[in-house]
C-alpha cells in the first residue's frame, strides 16, 4: 500500500485486538481498535477509516446490525469475522453490504488478501475500473464482452457471460448466492441456487483446466462463489 491505509478493528476479544494491532502495524497499516459495537460505530464516524474489520459476535449489539448501521452512511469496505457454524450470520452481513468475511481462526495471509481486495474495490473509480480481468490463461474483457483462453476466444452464452463478468468484476471478493442470482438473473430468482449450480458447471467446463478441481471459480459452501484473478 502506498500511503498507510487506516484500519479499524472492532472485536471484543483483547487478545485478537492485540494480535491484529501488532501484525497490521508491522505491515504498515494505521490501526484503531474498538471493543464494542457502539464504540466501533463512534470511531468509524470520527476517524473515517479506509477499512473496517468487524467481528460479528459483539457483547453489546449484533455485528450484523453494526454492519447495517455502517452501510447507512458509508461505503467503507467491511470485512466481517465470524466463527464456524454461523454461515447464516456471514451471509446476512454480506447481503447487507459487508465486502468479505473470514472464519476464525484465520491465517494472516488470508486476512491480508481480503484487506488487499477490499481496499482495491473501494479505490476511486479510475483505479478500480479494470476493463480486462486476467486469471491464469483467461482474459475477460468486460468492455468488449469477450473471453479468451490461451488467447483463443471462448464462446459463452449471454447468461454465462453476465455471470462470469459479475464474478470477474468482483475478483477476489466472495459473492453470495443471493447477490449473484439477483444480479445475473432477477431479484425474484434470488433463492434459485440451482440456476447458479448449473451455469457455474457450464462455465467451469469452458474455462477451467480441470472442471473438477477449479482454480478460478471457487465455491464457498453455504456462502457463495469467489473468482480468483491474478493480482
Amino acid at each position: 500500500m502506498k500511503t498507510a491505509a487506516h484500519i479499524l478493528v472492532i472485536d471484543d476479544e483483547p487478545q485478537i485486538l492485540r494480535a491484529l494491532r501488532t501484525i497490521l502495524t508491522a505491515r504498515e497499516f494505521r490501526v484503531s481498535t474498538a471493543g464494542t459495537g457502539e464504540q466501533g460505530l463512534a470511531l468509524a464516524a470520527a476517524e473515517q477509516p479506509d477499512l473496517i474489520i468487524l467481528d460479528l459476535s459483539l457483547p453489546d449489539m449484533d455485528g450484523v446490525e453494526v454492519c447495517r448501521n455502517l452501510r447507512e452512511w458509508t461505503q467503507t469496505p467491511v470485512v466481517v469475522l465470524s466463527v464456524r457454524d454461523s454461515e447464516q450470520d456471514k451471509v446476512r452481513a454480506l447481503d447487507i453490504g459487508a465486502d468479505d468475511y473470514l472464519t476464525k481462526p484465520f491465517s494472516i495471509d488470508e486476512l491480508l488478501a481480503r484487506i488487499r481486495v477490499a481496499l482495491r474495490h473501494s479505490a476511486p473509480a479510475p483505479a478500480r475500473q479494470k476493463t480486462v480481468v486476467r486469471a491464469g490463461p483467461l482474459e475477460i474483457d468486460l468492455v468488449n464482452l469477450a473471453v479468451r483462453r490461451h488467447g483463443e476466444e471462448v464462446k459463452l452464452t449471454a447468461t454465462e457471460f453476465r455471470l462470469l463478468a459479475y464474478l470477474a468484476a468482483n475478483a477476489g471478493r466472495v459473492l453470495t448466492h443471493r447477490s449473484i442470482l439477483a444480479h445475473v438473473w432477477d431479484p425474484a430468482d434470488a433463492d434459485h441456487v440451482e440456476y447458479l449450480r448449473v451455469f457455474i458447471r457450464q462455465l467451469r467446463k469452458k474455462l477451467e483446466e480441470d472442471p473438477e478441481q477449479p482454480q478460478y471459480i471457487l465455491n464457498e459452501p453455504g456462502v457463495g462463489y469467489r473468482f480468483i484473478a491474478d493480482e
Partner: protein, 483 residues
C-alpha cells in the same frame, strides 16, 4: 363425549306408573264380561297378577299404584252395588281390604327384592367396569393415552354428558385461574381427585344432567384411584427412563472429557514446545529448524480447530439442534472443496474423485456435507498407509445418490463395521491413532439428518465408507432455466 337417554328418569317413572294402571285396567276388561260366572275370590286372585307383575317389573311404587287401582276397580266393577264405590256385605269388605293389604305388601316385598337384585347387578357391573378399566389402563404406556381412556370409560359408565380428566403435571395443583377461565359454563356435578401415593396427580370432572348417586360416586372415586395408579406407573417409568439416559450421558461425558482433554493437550504440548523454543534465547535455531517448528505450530493449530469444530458439531447432533440449510447442490463441487481443504492441510495421500458430470443436483446442506467429506478423507488418512490413495466415487442409483470414500486401509472386523460409527469408537488402540473418534459419528449424524444411510464396508483391496442420499425429496425438482 355425550350420551342422551331417550327419556329422563322422572318421565320413565311416570310411564311405569301408567303401565301399572293400564295392567289393572286390562285385567278388568278381561274379567268384566265374565263377572256373572266368577266368584269374588277368583277375581281378587287374578288381580294379584298385575300387582305382582308391576312390582317385579317396575318396582315398588308402580306395584302399590297397581294394588290401589285394582282395589278401586274391584270395588267398582265386581262388588255389588256395581258401578259405585261402595260395599254392602261385610264379607266382601273383608276380602277387599285383605286384597289391599296383601297386594301392597306383595308389592313392597317384590319391589325390595327387585331393588336388591338391581343393587347386586350394579355392584357386579361396577366391579366389571372397574376391572375392565384397570386392565385397559395397565396396557397403556403414555399419560395422554391413560387420560383419554379414563375419559372414555367414565363417559360410558356414567352416561355422562361430558368428562374431563385433568392430570396435574407438576407438584402444584392446577391453579384456580385455569378453572375460572372457563366461566360461563356450568360447574361439573362432581370432581373426583386422583390421589397418588406421593401427591395429587389430577382430577376427574364429570358433567351430567342428574347428580351422581352415592354408589356412582363411589365408583367414580374408584375410577379416580385407578387413574391415579395408572398415571403414577407411567410417570415412574418415564422417570426411570430419564434416569437411565442421564446416567448414560454422564458416562458419555466422562468418556468425552478424558478423550477430549487428551486430544486437546497433544497439539497444545507441541505448540507450547515449539513456541517456547522459538522464543528462547538459549537455543539458536537454524532457519530450517525454525521453519519446521513454525510448520508444526500451524498444523497443530489446525488440528485443534478441527477438533473443536467436531466437538461443536457432535454436541449439536446430540442435542438435536442440527439445523439443515438445504439447497440444491452439486455433489462434485462439495467434494472438490473438501478435497481442496484436505490437500492444503497435508500431502500424505493422493486424493482423486470419480464423480460423473451428469449427476443430478442434490438437496443438501452444503456446509455439513462438506464436513462429511472432510471427515471421511481425514479418517481415510488416519487408517491407511501414507502414500496410498483415497478415492471419492459417486453414482446415481434409483431414487438415491450413492457415494463411496475408499482407501487402502486394512480390513475391519465384522463387529467393528457396525461399531465404527459409535462415538469414541476407534478400531485401533487409542494411542496409535489420533482423534477423538467423533469424525464418523458426526458423518452418521449428518447423513441421517438428510434421510440418508451410511455404512462401512471392506473392499477387495482396502476399506470404504459408503453413504446414500435420497434424490427424491418431497417431489422437489430443481428449476433450471433454459438459458
Amino acid at each position: 363425549m355425550k350420551v342422551d337417554p331417550f327419556f329422563s328418569e322422572r318421565q320413565q317413572r311416570a310411564i311405569h306408573v301408567l303401565f301399572a294402571i293400564v295392567a289393572a285396567l286390562l285385567v278388568t276388561a278381561l274379567l268384566y264380561p265374565m263377572r256373572a260366572y266368577l266368584e269374588l275370590a277368583i277375581i281378587v286372585l287374578v288381580y294379584f297378577l298385575p300387582v305382582g307383575l308391576s312390582a317385579a317389573r317396575w318396582g315398588m311404587i308402580p306395584g302399590i299404584v297397581s294394588a290401589i287401582a285394582s282395589f278401586l276397580l274391584i270395588n267398582y266393577f265386581f262388588i255389588p252395588p256395581y258401578a259405585r264405590f261402595a260395599v254392602h256385605q261385610l264379607q266382601d269388605l273383608v276380602v277387599l281390604l285383605g286384597f289391599l293389604v296383601l297386594s301392597v305388601s306383595v308389592s313392597r316385598l317384590v319391589g325390595r327384592m327387585r331393588e336388591g337384585l338391581a343393587v347386586a347387578q350394579a355392584r357386579e357391573n361396577e366391579t366389571a367396569r372397574l376391572y375392565e378399566l384397570s386392565v385397559s389402563l395397565s396396557r397403556l404406556a403414555g399419560e395422554a393415552e391413560i387420560v383419554s381412556s379414563l375419559e372414555r370409560f367414565t363417559v360410558e359408565t356414567f352416561l355422562a354428558g361430558r368428562v374431563e380428566v385433568l392430570p396435574h403435571n407438576d407438584a402444584a395443583p392446577t391453579s384456580q385461574a385455569a378453572t375460572d377461565s372457563r366461566a360461563g359454563e356450568p360447574p361439573p356435578v362432581l370432581v373426583a381427585s386422583m390421589q397418588g401415593s406421593q401427591r395429587l396427580l389430577g382430577e376427574i370432572r364429570i358433567w351430567r344432567g342428574k347428580p351422581l348417586s352415592s354408589a356412582e360416586e363411589r365408583l367414580l372415586r374408584a375410577f379416580a384411584t385407578q387413574g391415579a395408579q395408572g398415571l403414577e406407573r407411567v410417570q415412574l417409568a418415564s422417570a426411570q427412563a430419564r434416569a437411565k439416559v442421564l446416567e448414560e450421558s454422564d458416562r458419555m461425558k466422562t468418556s468425552l472429557l478424558s478423550s477430549v482433554s487428551h486430544e486437546l493437550r497433544t497439539p497444545l504440548a507441541t505448540i507450547k514446545a515449539a513456541v517456547s523454543s522459538l522464543n528462547s534465547n538459549e537455543v539458536t535455531l537454524d532457519s530450517a529448524a525454525r521453519a519446521d517448528l513454525l510448520q508444526a505450530i500451524e498444523e497443530e493449530t489446525d488440528r485443534l480447530n478441527q477438533l473443536v469444530g467436531n466437538l461443536l458439531s457432535m454436541s449439536r447432533i446430540e442435542a438435536g439442534a442440527l439445523k439443515l440449510q438445504q439447497r440444491w447442490n452439486e455433489l462434485a463441487e462439495i467434494a472438490a472443496s473438501a478435497v481442496r481443504k484436505a490437500r492444503a492441510a497435508s500431502h500424505s495421500h493422493s486424493i482423486s474423485m470419480d464423480i460423473p458430470e451428469e449427476l443430478p443436483l442434490v438437496w443438501v446442506d452444503d456446509v455439513l456435507m462438506e464436513q462429511v467429506f472432510v471427515n471421511l478423507i481425514d479418517n481415510s488418512r488416519k487408517y491407511s498407509p501414507e502414500g496410498t490413495s483415497i478415492l471419492i466415487k459417486a453414482r446415481k442409483r434409483p431414487e438415491r445418490m450413492w457415494v463411496q470414500v475408499s482407501n487402502a486401509g486394512p480390513a475391519v472386523s465384522e463387529a467393528d463395521l457396525e461399531q465404527i460409527f459409535e462415538k469414541f469408537h476407534r478400531v485401533t488402540a487409542a494411542d496409535q491413532i489420533t482423534g477423538t473418534g467423533l469424525g464418523l459419528s458426526i458423518c452418521k449424524g449428518i447423513v441421517l439428518a438428510h434421510q440418508g444411510q451410511i455404512w462401512a464396508e471392506n473392499l477387495e483391496r482396502g476399506f470404504a465408507i459408503e453413504f446414500t442420499l435420497p434424490t427424491d425429496i418431497e417431489g422437489k425438482i430443481p428449476r433450471i432455466p433454459d438459458e
